[in-house]
């Protein structure tokens, strides 16, 4: 086998020790080369000399070795000394070999092993320690680095000379190998003595650097490498003799700093400093500390700078987290996130303040809208107006703003998403001036989707806005109420041809479906589909009339066939239809029967419109009116004057409807009827007469009939649905459990109602067979308690006689 004796290549980088010869000698270790004591000869002689080799005694041999050792020391000390030649080396090696291979008692392996150690000890005691002891601080560190390098060179060379020991004696006896023995000497004699001084000197240099001074980083790197290397593969020395104190010192250093900064600096300045400190410490690790220190060091700094002063810092009155949010200091907030995300539970208070801030901003919007609304005229309060539209718009903007905070400043952290959600849930469920947020959102959508709404937006902007409204809906707990309002508005848009764009209608339904599930939108989708089918149906009807001209009623008729169940419920068959229209209805019915046999048509006159030709004295005009209005006006073809009660009797409508439609014809903008007495409102004693003098600059006018306010009915309907749902759930649970504690009952009920959308609603008992597909419930405990109270009255449940927290099912 071949080996190369080389000095460490890295060695060339250090100028202090004199260069040792780069020798490359090829030696066959199994066949020792006789040098020195035996004179070389022929092969036969050589073989013979192996047996007749002259025994070397210890003193003689060691004397020779000692020379080599001294030469090495001199080279290390920089004294004038010729380099080792390969011959020198071979002589030294062979001497050891020979002394170890003599027959006992002349095998000096043990003695040489001890001498090897003693050589280091002697050198250290006589040369190394004195030179270190007389130096201090940085100079001491430099000397240490130099001595350590020298020592490593010495170990390398000496262990080569004594190499034969490693091969047999040490291996056989499991003793520490030469290299280790050499390094251990330095550790036991040098390192143990000065490690304290070294540590103090290093830490003091680090502190100087922290204060902005320039220090020799390379020196520190070399010194700290000693702490690592001296452990011989184990980090104990570095950790116990240096790192522990460094961390202690670091904590004390930053604790002092922080206690001043927190008083003097604003929150942003403080955070800048903290971030800078952390960066520098990280840098420090990269340059001269061991990489394993990074995490521990940074944790110390974070603990002292951030954790210890977290609340004081975040709550600084004029510059804390509140102020940063108030002043939109996004950079500072981002920094706050970066800093506080590192400390345990550090983001909790930040997200709390964020939540408070957003809640306050949102509540202020509610208050603002409330104030505007309370200044409105009392009679208009029920109508959702422009101000409420503005309110929704502002809430959307608020959401955009703080969502971008969550995404950017707070790096999409779930804690901040939660804070945002909770904040919005607080004020989004407050409602404004008697209108719930569910209604406001539905109206807002209506305004965007209908023709001539107050919002004039591009297609992209509409899409984007709808997306945002749907996102807001996530915060609304009364989603069922939203659905009900939305459906009412959608019905009006579709039936009165007010929808601006089919694509947008379908697009928002897709969005709603994604967020709230298919059950939520199934009826709405059905409505939109109905309308498409109705158009087809209408053209079929026109074809039918063309083929059967005798059936044509002489009036253009458009019928929209809707599917019962998809649409909100309307009154049907209420109006006494004028004869002309009765014929129309008949014709359509005949047509419809040709298409399908088993469907029943229910006519909803309240949703119809009608174009009438009015022959007024000044000119003939076209009036666009509702079917109700048309029916009322057509009564005046037969009579000139009609009293309120006559009109009501002939139309077969309720007081409310009659008052509404007569008001639109006699008291509003277009006075098609004259009213006696001439007042601004309708009373049961009024008498009406056709106003033949009526005129307008237009030839075609639309006489609007204001819709009935549906708010109350919608809310009542939803409320009723919810009561049924909760009742049904409680009964279902109790029916299977018979006896159940209050809390469990409430819990199971909440769970069941939460699932309602996913599972089909099944038949429960003969007393509850209602169908509730249309419900998203987040029932509060109060609602459930209320239902329990009611079920006790209705004797479905009773309270246990002995345990008042227990309910029993009464079959």
């Amino acid at each position: 086998s071949t080996f190369f004796l080389t000095t460490a290549t890295s060695f060339e980088a250090f100028p202090t020790p004199p260069p040792l010869p780069r020798v490359s000698v090829s030696i066959d270790l199994r066949v020792p080369i006789r040098v020195g004591f035996g004179r070389g000869g022929s092969g036969a002689q050589r073989r013979m000399s192996m047996h007749e080799r002259k025994t070397i005694d210890l003193e003689q041999g060691w004397e020779f070795m000692q020379k080599g050792v001294t030469k090495l020391k001199n080279i290390l000390e920089g004294l004038p000394e010729p380099q080792f030649s390969s011959e020198d080396y071979m002589m030294l090696y062979t001497t050891i070999y020979n002394m170890c291979t003599q027959k006992p008692p002349h095998d000096y392996s043990q003695q040489l092993y001890d001498k090897y150690r003693e050589s280091f000890q002697e050198y250290i005691t006589s040369m190394v320690l004195p030179s270190l002891r007389e130096k201090h601080d940085e100079f001491m560190l430099r000397e240490l680095v130099k001595r350590w390098l020298n020592h490593k060179v010495m170990v390398r060379w000496l262990s080569r000379f004594f190499h034969y020991l490693d091969r047999y004696f040490i291996a056989r006896r499991s003793l520490p190998p030469l290299n280790e023995v050499g390094l251990t000497c330095f550790r036991d004699l040098v390192y143990q003595e000065i490690k304290g001084k070294v540590k103090d000197a290093v830490i003091s240099l680090i502190d100087q650097e922290r204060e902005g001074e320039q220090i020799d980083r390379a020196l520190l790197k070399n010194v700290l490498d000693i702490f690592v290397e001296i452990g011989l593969g184990n980090m104990d020395c570095y950790e116990n003799d240096f790192e522990a104190d460094l961390l202690k010192d670091t904590a004390a250093y930053y604790s002092r700093k922080a206690s001043n900064w927190i008083l003097e600096d604003s929150c942003p300045d403080y955070m800048l400093k903290a971030e800078e400190c952390l960066k520098r410490e990280k840098d420090r690790v990269a340059h001269y500390l061991h990489s394993s220190s990074e995490q521990k060091l940074l944790e110390k700094v974070q603990h002292e700078l951030l954790f210890a002063y977290a609340s004081q810092l975040l709550e600084k009155e004029h510059s804390g987290c509140h102020a940063l949010l108030r002043d939109d200091k996004v950079d500072d907030l981002s920094r706050m996130y970066r800093l506080f995300c590192r400390i345990p539970r550090g983001l909790d208070p930040v997200s709390q303040i964020f939540k408070q801030h957003v809640t306050a901003e949102g509540t202020a919007l509610v208050k603002q809208a409330e104030d505007v609304a309370s200044n409105k005229k009392a009679e208009k309060r029920d109508v959702v107006g422009l101000q409420e539209q503005v309110f929704v718009r502002k809430v959307i903007e608020l959401h955009d703003k703080y969502l971008s905070y969550v995404n950017d400043c707070f790096q999409n952290h779930s804690l901040f998403h939660k804070a945002l959600k909770e904040a919005f849930e607080v004020f989004c469920n407050k409602g404004v001036a008697g209108s719930s947020s569910a209604e406001l959102l539905a109206t807002f959508c209506d305004n965007i989707l209908k023709k001539g709404g107050s919002e004039k937006l591009s297609d992209e902007a509409i899409e984007e806005t709808l997306e945002k409204v749907v996102r807001l809906l996530a915060y609304i707990s009364d989603k069922d109420l939203f659905a009900e309002f939305y459906r009412k508005k959608l019905a009006r848009r579709l039936l009165f041809d007010k929808s601006a764009n089919d694509d947008h209608e379908r697009s928002i339904l897709t969005k709603l479906k994604q967020q709230c599930g298919g059950q939520f939108t199934s009826k709405m989708e059905g409505m939109v589909t109905d309308l498409t089918l109705a158009r087809e149906n209408q053209s079929n009807f026109e074809d039918y009339l063309n083929i059967n001209p005798q059936a044509n009623p002489g009036i253009d008729l458009t019928v929209t066939v809707l599917t019962t169940g998809f649409w909100p419920s309307y009154k049907s068959f209420d109006l006494n239809l004028p004869a002309e229209m009765v014929k129309c209805v008949e014709v359509f019915r005949e047509f419809y029967q040709t298409k399908t046999k088993h469907r029943k048509l229910t006519w909803i006159y309240s949703l119809g419109t009608c174009n009438l030709i009015g022959k007024f004295e000044p000119k003939t005009m076209e009036l666009i009116v509702t079917t109700y209005q048309a029916a009322a006006l057509l009564l005046f073809n037969a009579s000139d004057r009609l009293s309120y009660s006559e009109i009501m009797a002939q139309l077969n409508l309720t007081d409310d409807d009659v008052i509404r439609l007569l008001h639109s014809l006699s008291c509003a903008k277009y006075k098609i009827l004259n009213k006696e007495p001439y007042t601004k409102s309708i009373s049961p004693n009024d008498v009406f007469e056709f106003n033949s003098k009526f005129s307008d600059k237009m030839r075609r006018i639309k006489i609007p009939l204001p819709p009935v306010d549906e708010k109350k009915k919608v809310i009542e309907d939803v409320d009723k649905d919810r009561r049924y749902a909760i009742d049904a759930s409680i009964v279902r649970i109790m029916k299977s459990r018979k006896v159940l504690g209050h809390q469990q009952l409430v819990m199971e009920c909440v769970e069941q109602l939460g699932r309602m959308f996913k599972t089909a609603f099944t038949y429960i008992s003969h007393r509850f067979s209602c169908c509730l597909e249309f419900l998203i419930l987040q029932p509060d405990f109060k609602a459930i308690k209320k239902r329990i109270e009611d079920l006790i009255t209705r004797e479905y449940l009773e309270r246990d006689k002995d345990n008042p927290n227990l309910f029993r099912y009464l079959a």
Binding site: Q743, K785, E789, I792
Partner: protein, 230 residues
Amino acid sequence: MRRSSTRKTGSALPVNPSSGSSDAYRSASSKAVSKEVERIDNLFYAYADASSGLIDPEGIESFCSDLEVDYTDVRILMLAWKMKAEKQGYFTLEEWRRGLKALHADTISKLKKSLSELEKEVARPTNFSDFYSYSFRYCLTEDKQKCIDIESACELLDLVLGFQFRPQVDKLVEYLKHQRDYKVINMDQWTSFLRFCNEINFLSLDNYDAELAWPLILDNFVEWIREKQS
């Protein structure tokens, strides 16, 4: 359902109103007893309406004036409880006998004296909750009536709980008259009122937990008090 069945068991005593057969066994053992029964019966007929065979509201009024007790007095309600009277404003002979015998009173003056004893009896905790529930049932005058209106409930609370829990009753009555969520009170709510008075520290309410099965009306009541306090 449960309630109606309790009522039935409550009234199903082995007494035959027409013959008074249970008295027969007693009279056999003691003539004095039969004399007493006779006097009790006589007293009954002194107030009963001849055609209906019952003491009707008019009869009760004159009975009360003889007793020198107002007919709205809680002691009359206690007397009704002792008789296990079924129908408000009426006493049957059977009920009358049951009550007066238990009180060992066969004359107005004896009855007068026994009233204070009756008060003590009712005040015993086991009796009181029975009396308390009875007072609610006594107010259910219509067939299938399960609830009493708020106004009657307030009066009744004042009558039956007022002397024991004055501060609670005053507050509760104030609340019930103020709130708009409830128009009537059911039996469960009624019994919960008593449990509330017995268990909850008043006025601190510190041991009230709305998470428990208290009826919502009491949750609301407590919330109302806390709002007023803050």
